[in-house]
């Protein structure tokens, strides 16, 4: 073997170890709740904890709502910018990048100041209103990823001509969006949705400061008070993430019209 090959393999091995070791360690540790033997006690404890189920399903629900709201807001916007306002693209792209520049803590303090109980729109006064704020915040956090995913999807189709073809066949904007544009960028939307899901499930700052029973704050509380359960939770979260990835791959495969011609 040539020396350059050896170095390449070495670099790969170091990289793999860097990612795999903490994961292996976490899995190993999560199995050691019972003295002397490996067991799934920690997992059992986590899964049977009603708090886990409540916070996790709350976060999953919020994630799904965020995806729906994000798609409804971002897909038509990105479509319209591509179709009618191509000169505005740099500006819109800059706006979508803002959530990466403005820390979530600033965002949530802004929300609390603007929508507190003594403001003209006292959203923080009720649980429903606060959930709405949380949803809005999550959508903002997901904006950079969702916009880019959707925009990349739009780049792969001839938006202008497909729109004109549909128009000449009598279709209005909603029909064009629902039957032509969205189905053709579904894979891109799904990859954006997956990122959004991952962000919302693990999000801590917004949920904690708005005092909502989300998964992020629960992880933090558990991590501060227990030894083995947080490791088990981390492994579970990884498993969910990978399952999501697998699902996206599956959906992409199952979509007939995206198959590569043979």
């Amino acid at each position: 073997m040539k020396p350059s090959r050896i170095w390449a393999w070495l670099a790969l091995a170091v990289g793999a170890l860097y990612f795999a070791l903490p994961l292996i360690g976490t899995i190993e540790f999560s199995l050691r709740m019972r003295r002397g033997v490996y067991s799934f006690d920690a997992y059992r404890a986590v899964l049977s904890d009603p708090q886990f189920r409540a916070t996790f399903s709350f976060s999953v629900f919020m994630a799904l709502m965020t995806i729906v709201l994000g798609v409804l807001v971002i897909a038509p916007t990105a479509y319209w910018v591509r179709l009618k306002l191509p000169r505005w693209r740099p500006i819109v792209e800059f706006i979508t990048l803002l959530p990466l520049v403005v820390p979530p803590i600033v965002l949530v303090f802004g929300y609390i100041r603007l929508y507190n109980t003594s403001s003209w729109l006292p959203l923080t006064g009720t649980a429903g209103g606060t959930n709405l704020l949380l949803l809005a915040g999550y959508t903002v956090l997901a904006l950079p990823y969702m916009y880019r995913a959707v925009d990349t999807g739009l780049r792969t189709i001839d938006v202008a001509t497909l729109t004109e073809a549909a128009q000449s066949l009598g279709a209005g904007w909603i029909t064009i969006m629902a039957r032509i544009i969205l189905p053709n960028i579904m894979v891109a939307i799904l990859s954006g949705a997956f990122l959004t899901f991952a962000i919302v499930i693990g999000e801590f700052v917004l949920a904690a400061l708005l005092n909502r029973p989300a998964f992020g704050p629960y992880l933090q509380v558990l991590g501060a008070n227990r030894a083995y359960e947080p490791a088990a939770l981390a492994v579970i979260t990884f498993a969910i993430t990978w399952a999501c990835m697998g699902l996206i791959q599956l959906v992409t495969r199952l979509q007939k019209h995206t198959q590569v011609p043979r």
């Binding site: 497909l162 000449s168 019209h257 011609p261």
Partner: protein
């Protein structure tokens, strides 16, 4: 009143005047081509008829109704695009049925129409395929079927064959014309390919720099071009300069050789005029039935398959002529002294 009436149509992009005072009356069932180089305003005019561009002024009436203020989806116009524009997520049958589905037609009617359309485009077996599984020619035929399925008042085709290879282009243009005649649908066809326009159209609108230079049937456009642009754009042309010797009898000299056109010329004696001659109106060697001739030497011979294009040098100017390639006849050699004969009636005269 004509079926499609375009009057005083103007279009500005900012200060650029892209369509200038465009007028056209199209009868029901006519096949009209807009022919011109890119940027001549032909596609813009078509898009104004379709509703994708708004005219700066002027009116477009279809079947007596002014459509300028109607949105594209209210005009009932079928459109075929250069890029096919089939919906990638729908099957061939779903693509063809899309317009009817949007219109809320019953399922049975849609299925029936889709079957009929697949028959018309000779692809009855491909209803279940997706667009990516079709060749370019098949995709464009499906796009045509999709545009026709809604029974539009007007069919617009925007350079539909430009993305296809030469053989399919020829067969598909015959097919489009046959379908158009069969259905009797009023059609506007935009192209930069003169051969397409000449072979398919009832009438051709030759456009240049936003102006319709000439409207006429293919025979007139080719043989009696109204302007120098039309003469140059449609077909190949020998453009030659000559000096007038006697305007009354049409006597001129071309590189020192006298020609008598036997018709008066609108220029003073001694003035320079432009002559135009199509290569196929010139013949090699003397011909008893023609009344004009020039002498020169063969500059080069191009072999174009069925046709030989011979370029003959006069005293400074060069004329190209086409003669059929027959195996029995030896092509002229470079440097041969030859005589070129033509009918003076075929000489087009333009000033300057």
């Amino acid at each position: 009143m004509a079926f499609l009436d375009i009057t005083r149509l103007e279009k500005f992009y900012g200060t650029t005047h892209v369509v200038k005072d465009f007028n056209l009356a199209v009868e029901k069932g006519e096949f009209i081509s807009f022919l011109g180089p890119s940027g001549c305003g032909k596609t813009t005019t078509l898009r104004m008829v379709a509703g994708f561009e708004t005219p700066s002024s002027g009116s477009i009436r279809i079947d007596g109704r002014d459509v300028v203020n109607l949105r594209p989806n209210q005009r009932n116009i079928g459109m075929v695009f250069q890029a096919y524009a089939l919906f990638p997520n729908l099957t061939v049958a779903q693509n063809i049925g899309f317009g009817l589905k949007v219109a809320g037609r019953p399922r049975a009617e849609i299925d029936e129409r889709v079957r009929e359309m697949l028959g018309i485009i000779h692809l009855p077996e491909l209803g279940g395929r997706f667009p990516f599984q079709l060749s370019g020619g098949q995709q464009q035929r499906v796009a045509l079927a999709r545009a026709l399925a809604i029974r539009p008042k007007l069919l617009l085709l925007d350079e539909p064959l430009s993305a296809l290879d030469a053989k399919i282009r020829v067969s598909l243009r015959q097919e489009i014309r046959a379908i158009q005649k069969k259905l009797g649908i009023t059609t506007i066809y935009v192209t930069h390919d003169q051969e397409e326009a000449l072979s398919m159209s009832d009438r051709i609108v030759v456009m240049n720099a936003g102006v319709a230079e000439q409207v006429g049937d293919p025979f007139t456009i080719y043989n009696r071009p109204a302007t120098r642009f039309v003469a140059g754009f449609v077909g190949t042309l020998n453009a030659l300069d000559a000096i007038v010797t006697d305007p009354a009898t049409g006597s001129i000299t071309l590189d020192g050789q006298p020609i008598r056109l036997n018709r008066p010329i609108d220029a003073a004696a001694g003035a320079s005029i432009g002559l135009a001659l199509r290569p196929e109106t010139l013949a090699l060697g003397p011909r008893p039935e023609t009344d004009g001739s020039l002498r020169g030497t063969v500059r080069d011979v191009q072999f174009l398959g069925s046709v030989l294009r011979v370029r003959v040098a006069l005293d400074g100017q060069v004329v190209a002529l086409d003669s059929f390639n027959t195996a029995a006849l030896r092509p002229p050699a470079v440097g041969d002294a030859v005589e070129v004969s033509f009918a003076t009636a075929d000489v087009l005269v333009s000033d300057g």
